[in-house]
Amino acid sequence: MDIAESAIALPVAATTRAGIYHYDEYDREFLRERVAEFRDQVERRLAGALSEDEFKPLRLMNGLYLQLHAYMLRCAIPYGVLSSEQLRQLAHIARTYDRGFGHFTTRQNLQFNWIKLEEAPDALAALAEADLHALQTSGNCIRNVTTDEFAGAAADEVVDPRVYAEILRQWSTLHPEFSYLPRKFKIAITGAQNDRAAIQVHDIGLLAKRGPNGEAGFEVWAGGGLGRVPIIGTKLRAWLPEPEFLSYMEAVLRVYNALGGRENIHKARIKILLRDLGAARFTELVEREFATLPREKFRLDPAVVAAIRAHFAPPAFLALPEAAEVLARQVAADTAFADWVAHNTHPHRQPGYISAVISLKPIGGIPGDASAAQMDAVAELADRYSFDEIRVTHVQNLVLPHVRQDELFAVWRALDALGLATANIGTVTDIIACPGLDYCALANARAIPVAQLLSERFADLRRQYDIGPLTLNISGCINACGHHHVGAIGILGVDKKGEEFYQITLGGSAGNDAAIGEIVGPAVPYDAVVDAVETIVHTYLAHRQAGEAFLAAYRRLGVAPFKEALYAIA
């Protein structure tokens, strides 16, 4: 054990509680006050004391959007971590206040699409009963922080990012200075070698790592983002010591709040400020702010970090010397199970355990949708097999983080019975799609039906496996909620004289090799988009070298052969 770890040694090595941040009296008091405040604001709005213009940012900061057909409530799932009890409560809310289902999003949140304004305060109160909220899931404030869905479980993890994600959640909650920013502000943090949190395409991206003496610190990125102007972030700092964590966040946010554009909504994100000032000047301003702000006041006390870390203490893992062997035998005996294990699991740091990914991408289904019954069933599986814990991934799937390898077969059988065992994680049918024109007031085109058609076209698992790892992301408008810029294949819905067209980009990635996809050519109409994707896939298959994944092949080949295949026929 290194110095930094021993200094914050925990009184207990393991816990029987789910690895979530457990509220105490202060957190509950705060949330009750927040729900009461919102109830008041709704009453003032209904009484006419607040104009819609004034009410809008207030409701947005409580997660309430007005969509095409109804209000949408976006519930925060802080850094994608849920206890089974919380998931059950979300199922209850889906049944009581919505139409019996919810939609998991690319920000690891859950959206309910059919909420009534007058019932919204009750829905928030129901969330609060399970220590959940919808705070800052919208509006020009610091949004729900996202992280690696395998945090605290992944074999390649160096620092547990949940600890710092929770610190960020608390620090940013009703921040008095940074709640009326020029535009929304998204922070992602990872602590693993492989970036599964897309830190290079966030307003602030953080890589938690260890210094020479084992102490925790951060690499800090800023100014990345998707949307109308996709930009890969800039590294501001190679090393930020843990005690200075919040001071530095204050400095970045203060520079942004003071200087970020407020005239034009499309030029208001921090990425534009950073681009316009230049990385050197922006970094200089942040460092100057950092040097002059009262750092003592924001210094992160090791005792505070330790107290928060205690919430994420490892569960009571058992020594399971036989488990790997049991799993190997079951894999050898059942091809369908073997397929699922090969695609839908992730290596665990604890011998004998494994993380299981629950695909919310059934063939022909709506990406990220789950019924209340499915949520309840997953909660029960988490109780039984994963220390009461569930994760939401930023590609709209769920994870049971801590499953015994010798119980994985039982988990798979149970998921299969629920229609939740599609063995397609990371394949071409593991599609990210925003709600698009079926729900969203901003959309130019439908995204969900395109995802469904593509999923059906590539339904055959053997074909998916032959194609190999391929991210396919669909956005229904330029705001890019479907992360199309960072899909190996990206699809963007556009409106051309009232008709839905789709622009295709290739070569995007949100990982360590983050890249913005390149436009392959003119947009194609709705009826042609599935064939176009198939042509792209065929072109890859025809040109790939042995073992070469789509993205690697694209980077070697460039856009030319794909362009030729797509447009030569037309």
Partner: protein, 165 residues
């Protein structure tokens, strides 16, 4: 316009003065441009001076004037424009300004506690405002999760016990 301090209406001893009007022999609020232009003449006066600044003002530009002004009025052109929060906080924390800082313009009661936590001492509210709504908004929350200008005591971890209203 009613002026609120700590949730209660107070008398405003300052009068705003247009750039081309003579200064009264009473506490006056002038524009930043006038203060900079007439710095010397204004420094010789024996009555309190206030200055009104736009939300685009850089705190570092105000720093050299701070020992001359008893009141700093920060404009909020639109309640969504949050630059005023940073101005007040920077003046308090970086420049140690201890005079009055007042918020004027389009401000919602729901922002009152944020103003106070960022170092504002007073807020001018619309003539027809329901003052009970403002007072209630100030006292709404008893827990805060981050350090601010106010000296709210830490209760546990990052949490602080607020007593604003």
């Amino acid at each position: 316009m009613p002026l609120l301090e700590q949730g209660f209406p107070v008398a405003d001893r300052f009068v705003p003065v247009a750039d081309d009007a003579p200064l009264p022999d009473a506490p006056a609020i002038v524009s930043l441009a006038r203060l900079q232009r007439e710095a010397e003449a204004l420094a010789g006066r024996n009555v309190a001076l206030g200055v009104q600044v736009a939300s685009t003002t850089k705190p570092e530009d105000l720093a050299p004037l701070l020992d001359r002004v008893a009141l700093l009025v920060v404009e909020f052109p639109k309640f969504r424009d949050g630059r005023g929060f940073t101005i007040a906080r920077t003046l308090r924390e970086r420049y140690g300004y201890t005079g009055e800082i007042r918020a004027v313009g389009h401000i919602l009661p729901d922002q009152y506690a944020f103003l106070v936590r960022c170092g504002f001492s007073s807020v001018a509210v619309p003539e027809a405002a329901d003052l009970s709504v403002w007072a209630a908004a100030l006292g709404r929350f008893h827990v805060a999760y981050q350090a601010a200008v106010d000296a709210a005591p830490v209760v546990s971890g990052l949490r602080r016990r607020l007593a604003l209203g």
